[in-house]
């Protein structure tokens, strides 16, 4: 059973979302996602200042067997990227909810993205048999 912190929001594409302020989010991949991908060896994160579109790919995480897109949950601008992952991609496996964060996003005004609560994400994982 994977860890699903109660204070975060989630997407069906297995990103977690932490609200830092009313206009600022932090995202990463869930414990379930890192376990499914296996040992991660490379992370490609967007440049600070890049424009993001809700539902569009914004980063790539690569394991020895697959490369997967990470989707932005909102429209916005990249405020920061976790540059430490370049030399230590294994942080994504070890601490997916803390040191393994991917990017921080300045959210464009007026959005209420349809995110899942921890309980809803747990139910989604259970019902999709994952």
């Amino acid at each position: 059973m994977s860890e699903i912190p109660a204070d975060l929001k989630y997407t069906k594409s297995h990103e977690w979302v932490r609200t830092l302020s009313p206009s600022s989010l932090e995202i990463g991949i869930t414990d379930h996602a890192q376990a499914a991908l296996g040992d991660l060896v490379f992370v490609e994160i967007p440049e600070v200042g890049s424009q993001l579109t809700a539902g569009a790919a914004c980063a790539v995480v690569e394991s020895v067997k697959a490369a997967s897109d990470i989707y932005s949950p909102v429209d916005g601008t990249v405020a920061a990227g976790n540059t430490g992952l370049a030399n230590e991609p294994e942080l994504l496996n070890r601490e997916p909810y803390t040191a393994g964060w991917l990017i921080r996003i300045d959210v464009a005004a007026g959005q209420a993205p349809p995110l899942l609560s921890a309980a809803e994400y747990a139910a989604y994982l259970a019902e999709s048999g994952e």
Partner: protein, 478 residues
């Protein structure tokens, strides 16, 4: 003996199962206008004996001309062991094998090849090869678009001194992916691209600048200045190089000045044919590409790495496959995932046999022979050198009359006299691109010069007669 595994009965049975009336119906979605009903000079099915005879006759039609034609493919001496080894059963395939790691010898050859190409170009990583030099440049442009994070324009600066057939291939491949090419003119006296001519693009968003060294005219570009200009403007540099020339010229990894701890170009690519691959009427050849480690995930194609197995023994393995199409599907870095394994094997053996000093001698002798050729040909009345820039092993000559009939007359004398540039570079007038490598002797060069003098004098007589009849202007183009 038929080598087709399906009998007409097999085919009929299979068509019956899927409910298609004929094999042609399976290709229904291809518009009729794109289908070619018959190929000129390609006969219907022949027996093995008939086809062997036809092909020998066709091959004999080529003759064995004395070739001074370069323009991207060059005749070099290939030591006999190169193809004796490359065609051994263990190597004799164009592909990286399935279950690649089961073929450690094949992977080791590719690993050695990659190491040699990195050393030759002064870069950090090489792929296992691409189809040819032209498609390698197209892939290099796509790589630059993915890797240059300072640029969003998808615009590439290409000097007109880059091989024009390469530019056509780039247009075909990259042009359909929203990449715009901006052609940069050359200096008509020097025959190379002036950094000053790039100044009008300063401050604009360009993804990459292509620099061919030596350029299509055989002239040496001022690569340091061009590279520095590109760096200052956040433009990637894609070097297109002749690998033989790198035995004498500065490696692209060292072009330009050191700034911010970095030096040199971003991507190097080119045609590998000069390294032990025969001209073979145009192919198969192979393309190469090397780059910096920071761009390795944006580089297309296979990469072989060295590693340790579970018991700690060294071995070779395909690496970074997660970005390739059999795993990433439509999001793969590139749809190229094969390579020219057989010609690469030959090139690896060629480079191993010659070593750095051997390659240097090949390059130096080619330069010397070309200088001798230029001296001999420009002694013929009406022939002069067009450009003033220093050259490698190729030169543009101007004739005092249209080139095509001269080349045709030389061909009748068994000489391939070079490439007529007048169609692609009309402003150069009656321009002829010639090359000589270490394979040409004093006698060969003398024979070409004598034949050219002969052709020029005969043609001059005929032309003179025609001129007086028609009173056509002397300087008129074709």
């Amino acid at each position: 003996m038929p080598f087709i595994p399906h009998t007409p009965a097999d085919v009929a049975a299979m068509l019956d199962v899927i409910g298609a009336p004929s094999i042609d119906d399976l290709f229904d979605e291809i518009p009729a206008s794109l289908k070619v009903p018959a190929l000129a000079r390609v006969p219907p099915a022949l027996s093995e004996m008939e086809i062997a005879r036809l092909m020998s006759e066709r091959a004999a039609d080529d003759g064995r001309p004395l070739s001074f034609l370069g323009a991207g493919a060059y005749e070099h001496h290939i030591p006999a062991p190169v193809w004796a080894l490359a065609t051994r059963g263990e190597f004799y395939s164009a592909y990286t094998p399935y279950q690649a790691e089961a073929s450690q010898g094949t992977l080791q050859v590719i690993y050695e090849y990659q190491s040699m190409m990195c050393a030759l170009t002064g870069m950090e990583v090489s792929n296992a090869s691409l189809y040819d030099g032209a498609s390698a440049l197209a892939e290099a442009c796509l790589t630059a678009v993915r890797a240059n994070r300072h640029s969003r324009s998808r615009r590439v600066l290409i000097p007109r001194t880059v091989n024009p057939t390469y530019v056509e291939v780039v247009r075909t491949i990259a042009g359909n992916q929203d990449i715009d090419l901006e052609m940069v003119d050359f200096d008509p006296q020097q025959g190379r691209t002036l950094t000053a001519s790039l100044q009008r693009y300063a401050g604009q968003d360009f993804t990459a600048l292509v620099v061919q060294q030596p350029n299509f005219f055989g002239c040496l570009e001022e690569v340091d200045e061009l590279t520095d200009w590109a760096r200052e403007n956040n433009v990637f540099v894609i070097a297109v190089v002749n690998p033989i020339s790198l035995a004498l010229l500065k490696a692209p990894g060292q072009w330009g000045r050191v700034s911010g701890g970095k030096q040199g170009v971003d991507i190097v690519c080119g045609e590998g044919q000069p390294l032990g691959v025969p001209l073979s009427s145009g192919g198969p050849y192979f393309g190469f590409m090397t780059t910096r480690m920071q761009h390795v995930r944006q580089m297309p194609g296979r990469i072989v790495g060295r590693t340790l197995d579970a018991e700690g023994r060294p071995g070779f393995t395909l690496t970074l496959q997660a970005r390739e199409q059999h795993i990433r599907r439509s999001k793969a870095t590139s749809n190229i995932c094969t390579n020219q394994g057989l010609t690469v094997t030959a090139a690896t053996i060629y480079m191993s046999l010659l070593g750095a000093s051997g390659l240097e001698r090949v390059a130096a002798m080619s330069v010397q022979r070309t200088n001798e050729l230029v001296a001999a040909l420009t002694a013929v009345p009406g022939v002069r050198v067009v450009f003033s820039a220093p050259r490698f092993h190729e030169a543009v000559l101007a004739l005092d009359r249209p080139v095509a009939p001269v080349l045709a007359a030389l061909a009748r004398r068994g000489i391939l006299g070079g490439l007529d540039l007048s169609e692609r570079y009309a402003e150069l007038g009656h321009a002829l691109l010639v090359n000589a490598t270490e394979t040409k002797t004093d006698a060969d060069i003398g024979r070409f010069a004598a034949a050219l003098a002969d052709v020029q004098s005969v043609a001059a007589g005929a032309r003179g007669a025609q001129m007086s009849r028609r009173a056509a202007p002397l300087t008129g183009g074709q």
